[in-house]
Symmetry: none
Subunit: 214 residues, 4 copies
């Protein structure tokens, strides 16, 4: 049989899957790492979940740790970008942007998969401090920055009174973070099933203290 009869040898079908492999593996890794923790997760299970053999993972990642690092990196990028966008998008009505943002966050925190990364990072922070630091710098710090920008804007526009920005950021992130941990990590019942109400309550308590008084 002559090669000419073969369909596009320059771009065979099986290539398509192969090109998607790294992402599939990362996805599988996230699920396994998230569910069992880094140490307890087995490469074999990740492979099975990604639909290939244990050995094949090593064609794409040098080691288990490398896989972990790639995973964090992959998950970090989009978040950072999102943060960036948010900050700039809210220049017109920063206070409202904050509220929208918080509501969106509350909704997304309902997705256990989203917490998998932070939980994972916390879990490995002892053994891989650099990864924890990386995550902080590229995610938490970015988010903090974006929030601060919004808050700064709100203060500049007179939407809220002046106060320590650091404290305000904490007051925004902290409760959400805590509720998320409480719910998805510790298994508690939660206000998260009604994110809208959750945020309303939080803003009710929080923002009223920051409103301008007559």
């Amino acid at each position: 049989m002559s090669p000419a009869t073969l369909p596009k040898p320059s771009e065979p079908r099986w290539r398509r899957r192969a090109e998607a492999r790294p992402e599939e593996i990362l996805e599988a890794a996230l699920e396994e790492f998230g569910a069992r923790g880094f140490e307890a997760a087995r490469m074999e299970d990740i492979a099975k979940r990604a639909g290939l053999s244990k050995a094949a993972i090593y064609l794409y990642f040098q080691s288990k740790v490398a896989l972990l690092e790639a995973l964090i990196e992959a998950k970090v990028g989009p978040l950072a970008q999102t943060a960036q966008m948010i900050a700039s998008a809210g220049s017109a009505d920063p206070l409202n942007a904050l509220r929208t943002l918080a509501t969106a966050a509350a909704f997304r925190l309902n997705d256990p998969a989203l917490l998998a990364v932070p939980r994972l990072v916390i879990g490995i922070s002892g053994r891989f401090p650099e990864i924890a630091t990386y995550y902080r710098e590229h995610v938490v710090e970015k988010a903090r920055g974006a929030l601060e920008a919004l808050i700064e804007g709100a203060m500049a526009k007179g939407q809220i009174r002046r106060a320590d920005k650091n404290a305000i950021v904490r007051a925004f992130i902290g409760p959400l973070f805590f509720e998320a941990m409480w719910t998805h990590v510790l298994g508690g019942e939660t206000a998260l099933h009604d994110p809208q109400k959750l945020i309303k309550q939080q803003f009710d308590v929080l923002l009223s203290g920051l409103e301008l008084r007559a």
Copy 2:
């Protein structure tokens, strides 16, 4: 020689070590588990740190998991009691009690060892959900209860205005928890080195929203 000068034979010196062993082991376990995570920690290292042989640990704890459970249990008791005490102690001036409590908490959060347990719990929550739940029920829920009692008191006494208690509790715990994670887990610089100021800021932001308005 008068019998009175003899050390009580019912409590011989050599026993002392043996009786203290479980605690010594738990302490060592906390340090190793805390530093490396449950899976990565090696029984041998725990033993070495506790000053005995690997096998000796098994005289006191049935298995690595049993050791983990005992550790959580041991660390939980005192915290729960503390919470109880606080709640009742603050009946006279609940708002002030809250402030004092927050300051104390901020001080203690500076001790990395204190965060070791929550961090550990978060890390293993995937593999041992029952332990995570146990921790929530016996520590976080208790703390939440104690706080709610204080807040309820403050509202009853007219020290702060009425608002959703759940939200208020979150607003208290969340920022501190977040700051602690930020600092000791993710390795960030922090406002925690000046707990007094940290709390002042937080209360400034938070409580002003809860103050009674004319």
Copy 3:
């Protein structure tokens, strides 16, 4: 080069070993278990004897106990079949079949490897009664049944007089079993080096009591 000279690609050479592995391991296990007993045998020695690494055994058998069970099972099948065959083969002249069978058994009992399984089973019977029972049901009971059939046939054909079948079977198996233990387990000198004579003696003593009298 003609395709015909190529080794079938569907059965590559390197596969051969892998497919034979379980049997090789079982063989090695039999030797080690037989020589030292189940508990004293070390997986590492079995592996070495089978020509692979300790860990490789676990690719084929879940645990040491599973290996033991597989071993018994593997050794049981053929025996049971043999018994079946014998029973049916002797329908023409049962008494003669008995004699032939006994001789064959006496010959085979000379092979120490053959006794390894029963000896092993006896050794572990305390810890694994189910295995002992399994062995009895699938081997000894089958053999007993086959013998009884022969004896029944011999009685029906008037070759021997009627007597308690159970007792006769015992009288056949018992002495051989005893001699085998005596020789290969207890290390005694034996009549087994002359199986022919051994059987002649046994039949002389035994069958003369079962002959029909005038």
Copy 4:
């Protein structure tokens, strides 16, 4: 309380136990070794069963193997003596003595404890061939000798016809041994619950072939 009121201080009560200790330990060892096999039996369990501490066993026996050896030795003596007695006691009517002896044996084989030693010996024969040999020489060989003497007597007195003594002995011991293994080791149902009948059957089958013919 004056010493006078104490019973015989020169022979304190606790001494009595101490003097019996070795035997108690051996008894406990027999039960544990018998139930689990030598390797699987734990010194601690033996100690517990004997009512003392693990360490105390080492006051009486140098090691686990030494304990095993002492156990075999202790169990061997009486049996050998019994055999001796039997042989001489049966000089008047050897055939009847044989019958009596077989019945007694059948009764005793009902006691699982009695089989514990042979089973144990078979189990360890691979690892401790000397012990197996020792057992054969001191027990089985003695028994064989005693039986042979009886049989010789019976032949001399014309109670049974002449035949190969070795074969006759096997024909006596074998079936009983087999039935005992079948029952107490392999867990089979058995004719042993009616020893009297068992022996009657066996002798019916066996001795009729040895009777003198007209």
